[in-house]
Structure formats: structure tokens, C-alpha cells
């Protein structure tokens, strides 16, 4: 049923992966690529809520940090050999934590939802700093071991790639499943979904939980990357920068967040090393993008590749 062009993004991701693996590039670039992968997963998981369901959460860092802390702290005490299991445990705990929070937050709509997720995120951030005997406070925790197999930067990169790739495929299938279509419907007109006899709240909750699970997974992966975790991972600016990445790439396309992440991290890296006035240049570039690319970078790309959009696509918000 799918057009062959819809596999193009997957192909490009694979090629990029192989290029990075076999080109003679520095360890830092591999590290950078790993960061991009992890944040891509985080961004796509976030976009399940935002771009698909229409829920803007300013507390996504809560699950990111929670996954990172559960995985990181347990790995630190049980040793690197259990890392993979603890990674899954971290995601599951983010999922479980999301149940009560989702039940509470989803009773609210619009900006009130945003602000309640924000408040919960900040509370958990504060508690993490307060329980310094347990979490290390704002000093964070360093020296989290990795299993022997994943010790080098490259092997960890491969590991992260496999996990992220599988997760993305899962989320992609999810997005085009009937469930995904319902989520889209909720964003466009929640009343219509109710009229069709479906429960908006339940669907939103499930999206919230799935998003939390993969966000937690991304956090767990990051705890293994640098071997250090810190409460900044819970802070609202973390949620905020993910929002920026997603919008930059385009929220109406499954791969938009991935593109946004790549651009944002590369820009940050490049401008950051070029000038101390990086905020000015980053801000200016973002400003230009907002004005020129109304559908994010991916919006422009798809238009460029596919030619003018069909009427049907426009009507559907061009979600692939």
C-alpha cells in the first residue's frame, strides 16, 4: 500500500548510520551522532503527544530524567552488566509513573494541561535536588559503568542505533495504525471522536503512556552515554529544547522531529564553537526559519521532493 518514497527516510537514516560507522571521523562526531539518535527518539516520542494528539507537554523532561535516573542509579549499584535490563526497567518505570500523572493532567485542556505537566516536572526536579543523599542532588551522579561489550564510543553508538531504530519503527507503525488515526482525529476535532463513540480520554492516556515509555528509554540511553546524570535532565529547559527541535523540524510529519533534532544539535555544536554570541545567531536562524518555513524544515523538504501537495494531503494536514 505504501509508496516506495515513504521508505526514503528509513533508507537515509540507515545510510547515515553506516557512513558515521565507517568514515574516519573523530570520537566526538560519533558521540554527537549518538546524542542526535537519543534526542531523535525523545523528540519523536514527544511528538506522539504534540504533533499527533495535539497535547503540548512542558513536562516531558520528567520522564526523560526519570528513565535516566532509574537506569543510571541502578546500573551504578548493580554494575554495567545489567545495563540492558535496567534500561528497560527505566522505561517501564517512566511508563508507570505516567499513569497517575496522565490521569491527572489529561483532565485539563490546552494551556492548563501544559502548565500542569510543567508543574509536575518542576516538582520532580526539585525533589531530585532535595534528596541529595539518595540522588546526589544537583551534583548528579557520575561514573555510571557500561557493560564490557559497549565500552567504546562506537559500540555504544551501534547499540543506541539499534534500540532507537526499533523504537522508531514501532512508533511509525503506531502512527499509521487505527490508533494513530484516532489520535490525529482528536487533535483536529475532539468532539467528532466523541460522536463516533470513542473515548478521547482513554486514547489520550494511552498516547501519554507510550510517549512516556520512549522518553524514559531515551533518558536511560543518555545515562549510559556520558556515564553521568544530573537534575538538569528534569528541568523545564530540557522539555523546552525538545519542543524547539520538534517545531523546527515540523510537527506534522513523523520524521520532522528527527530532522529538527539533527539541525538543532549540529547548529548548537557548530555555532557554539564558532562564536560566544551563539544565542544571537541561533535565535536569528530560528527566526528566519519560522518566517520562511511555515511547515518546518520537513514541510519544505517534502514539498520540494513531491512537488506541489495534492488537495487531499492539504486537507489532511499532510500527515503521512
Amino acid at each position: 500500500m505504501r509508496k516506495s518514497s515513504s521508505y526514503l527516510p528509513w533508507l537515509s537514516i540507515l545510510i547515515a548510520f553506516l557512513l558515521i560507522l565507517f568514515l574516519p571521523i573523530s570520537e566526538h562526531k560519533v558521540h554527537l551522532a549518538t546524542r542526535i539518535l537519543i534526542f531523535s527518539l525523545y523528540a519523536v516520542a514527544f511528538n506522539i503527544l504534540f504533533g499527533m494528539t495535539g497535547l503540548l507537554s512542558l513536562g516531558s523532561a520528567l520522564f526523560y530524567g526519570f528513565g535516566a535516573y532509574v537506569t543510571g542509579m541502578l546500573t551504578k549499584s548493580y554494575g554495567g552488566d545489567y545495563f540492558v535490563y535496567l534500561l528497560i526497567l527505566g522505561s517501564i518505570s517512566a511508563f508507570i509513573l505516567a499513569i497517575p500523572l496522565g490521569l491527572l493532567c489529561l483532565r485539563l485542556t490546552d494551556v492548563y494541561f501544559t502548565m500542569l505537566t510543567f508543574a509536575f516536572g518542576q516538582l520532580v526536579w526539585g525533589v531530585c535536588i532535595k534528596l541529595y543523599n539518595f540522588t546526589g542532588g544537583d551534583d548528579g551522579i557520575q561514573g555510571i559503568p557500561r557493560m564490557a561489550l559497549l565500552e567504546t564510543t562506537k559500540s555504544y553508538y551501534i547499540f543506541v542505533f539499534i534500540i532507537v531504530f526499533i523504537s522508531l519503527i514501532f512508533l511509525w507503525r503506531l502512527a499509521s495504525s487505527p490508533f494513530g488515526l484516532v489520535l490525529n482525529g482528536i487533535r483536529q476535532n475532539r468532539n467528532r471522536i466523541t460522536f463516533l463513540g470513542m473515548n478521547v480520554y482513554k486514547h489520550q492516556l494511552l498516547a501519554f503512556l507510550i510517549s512516556a515509555f520512549f522518553t524514559g528509554l531515551a533518558g536511560g540511553l543518555y545515562s549510559g552515554l556520558d556515564g553521568s546524570i544530573h537534575p538538569n535532565m528534569f528541568f523545564w529547559t530540557q522539555s523546552g529544547s525538545i519542543i524547539l527541535m520538534v517545531i523546527l523540524g515540523g510537527i506534522n510529519n513523523f520524521f520532522g522531529p528527527v530532522v529538527g533534532t539533527i539541525i538543532f544539535i549540529l547548529l548548537e555544536d557548530y555555532i557554539g564553537k564558532t562564536t560566544e554570541y551563539w544565542p544571537f545567531f541561533l535565535g536569528t536562524i530560528m527566526l528566519i526559519m519560522v518566517i520562511i518555513f511555515p511547515k518546518g524544515i520537513v514541510g519544505i523538504l517534502t514539498r520540494f521532493l513531491k512537488g506541489p501537495q495534492t488537495k487531499k494531503e492539504l486537507a489532511n494536514g499532510s500527515h503521512s
Partner: protein, 413 residues
Amino acid sequence: MKKQFKKLFLFLFSLFFVAQGYAAEVVKIGALYPMSGRGGLYGKDSEAAIKIALDEVHKKGLPKGIKLDVIIIDDQSKPDYAVSVAKRYITEDNVKFLFGVVSSSVALAVTEVSKNNKVIFVGTDHAATDLTANKFQPYYFRASNNTFQSMMAGAMYLKELKGWKKIAYIGPDYAYGRDQWMELKYALDKLGVKYEVVGEYWPKLYEPDYTSYITAIINAKPDILVAGFWGGDTVAFIKQAKAYGLFNKMKYFHPDAGGNYEVMAALGKEMPEGLIMSARHHVNWPDTSENKTFVQKFYKATGRYPSYAAEGAYAGILLIAEAIRKVGNADNTEALVKAMEGMKLRLPEDPKGFTSYIDPKTHQIVQVQAIGVTKKNNKFPPAEVMLGDFKVYDANKLWPDFKYIEYLKKAKK
């Protein structure tokens, strides 16, 4: 395939270019400082001081004509970003030293990179005692005081002060604020000083409004209020507390960062007299030619007087240069570490008859601490009030304190 062929190729390739150009003469130092936001001032001051130090070092010359090249990048005060930059420094720019860092949480993340890659990290600004105590690692050195040194000196001052009993504390609610209070209490206990705590207040970092804290403190009626703020928070607190007449009702004691020049400059005429404060470097003490020259050079370069951060960065560059002189090159990291251990450095903040040195066991610089009282003094505008009547505390009594390190290990696991 641990060492991939391609990596080797790249290495040889880059070596070829390096050999063509400036050969083994340039030693790169990768510095991380905040350059924007609240901490930006410390980054900019450190940058200026690094330039001054490099001029002096190059004028005197290094073995084999080595030249130091310092790259400075904004760490955005974010640990994960700082780690990424540190990795680039090591694997792309081939730096021999990591350098700087204002925020302790960033430093704790970067010191991991230093340890794993066996690259020396010279800290110049962050003050968390942990780094040279319970979280010590052999490639880390610090060219500025830790909070314990300030607090030990503070406790000695309080012991001499007499005539007080009730004490209260206010400090930002994060590790820096909390550690200072723990250390001060530890030091007071160690010196056998009796005291009664009548209040602890923990506003958030960057709290804009202290009004409720101030009225609560005044009501608690302490004899001494100990403060653990830094930078802009000190300025805001003093401005707001002055409006309530807090300083007429109790002594204000701020031994780690209260006496920073940037605070004096920001407050101008509004800085009350009689506050007891200190800083890691004073522009008006000691009255030595080294200090005067340093302060004047800085003023000439930037048009303002240096905050404490400048002297730390200056000391860090001198430390690296001296180590290279002693070893003869910058290639052997282990030899550089050995050279730095116990290294003596004549610094602007050293009074006559004392030379700062690196404690070989903890890699912490050992320096005297001078605590003063605010007095009218308009020699360093825009400040109109500066510290005076300094009391000086013997460096060797402040650090190292191995009992405290044991205590810290237990307290922080």
C-alpha cells in the same frame, strides 16, 4: 579492531599537517566557561585574565619555544553539553589540558571525561570541595579555593569575634549553598565554638525577591546572619535587606563570595558598611606589586576591575606553564601531573612571605584567606565601598583537612 586503521590514517594525516605548520610548538588548552546569562561575567573576566597570563608566559618563554593556545567555548552551564564539548576538545582539537568551568555540576561531569581520557583538567572557578576531596581523581587540579577553605577561615574569624551566640543561615538551595553551611558548622565544631542555630533559609538560586526571608530573619533575631549567595543574588539580597534595616540589627557574615568585586561594583553607594565578607581574590588586598600589576593590567584590557574569577583563570595558566617548564614538554601527562603536585606559584593574591602551592595529595591549591569588613573606599570605581581591616588566616591551617574528607565521604556516600 580496537584501533581502527582509519583512525590511524586520520591521525597520521593530521600529524602531517601539524608537522608542516607549527610543529610541536603549540600546546592547546580547551577552556569551558559560561559566556552568556548570569555567569557570563565570570567567563568574560576569565577570558581577559587568560590573555594577560598568556602574554606573561610567552614573554618569559617556554621550553622548545612552546606556545600555549587557549580555546574558549561557552559551556551554557549545561553538564551534558559541556561533556560533548570536552570530547571534541580531546578527540578533534587534541588539547592537552581541559580548563576553567564555573558551575560545580558541570565540573563534576567534565572531570569524568578528564579521568577516562587521562587529560589534565585544571579547574579555576568552581568551588565544590568534593572535587579535591571525596571525588578526587588524579588528573584534576584546582587553581582556586574550595568552599571548605573559605568556611574554615570564616569559622576562625567567628571564633575571634566573640560576643555572639545565635546564628542563622541563608543560602541558595543547591549544593553550593548547602555545602557552605555544612562546612561552617563542621569548622565551628572543630574549633570548639558554641553556637545556637535560630534559623536556616533556603531560597532558590536566582531568587528575585527575598522580602519574606528578610522579615523572617529579622524576627528570628540572630546575632549573626551567615550568607552563602554568589553574584547577583548577593546584590539583590543586600539591596532588599537594607531597605528593612536588617544590617543594623545583626552582623552580616559572608565568607566565600560576599566580598567579590562585582558585588561591590553593582551596589556602589548602596553597599552598607560593617559587613564581614571575603572573596577568593581581592582587588585591594594584598598590597603587593604583583596584585597591583595584575589588577591594573586587567583594568587596562577591559575597562573594569576583575571579579575573583579572573585571578583563578590567571593562576590556572601559570600552573600549566610552570608544569611545562619543569617537565620540558607537554607530551607526558603523567610527568605533568607529578610536576604539578606540590608546585609553588607566586600569585597576585599571595601576601608577602607566602607562596601558594598545590597540595600533592588532593591537588587543591593552598592559599591564605583574608576576611575583611566593608568600608568607604572609592579607589576602584564604580565601587564606593570596599573591604578593609583584613584579618589573614594561615593557609596551612585551612587545607588539607583529611578528617573533613573522611566526614564528607560518609556524608555523601
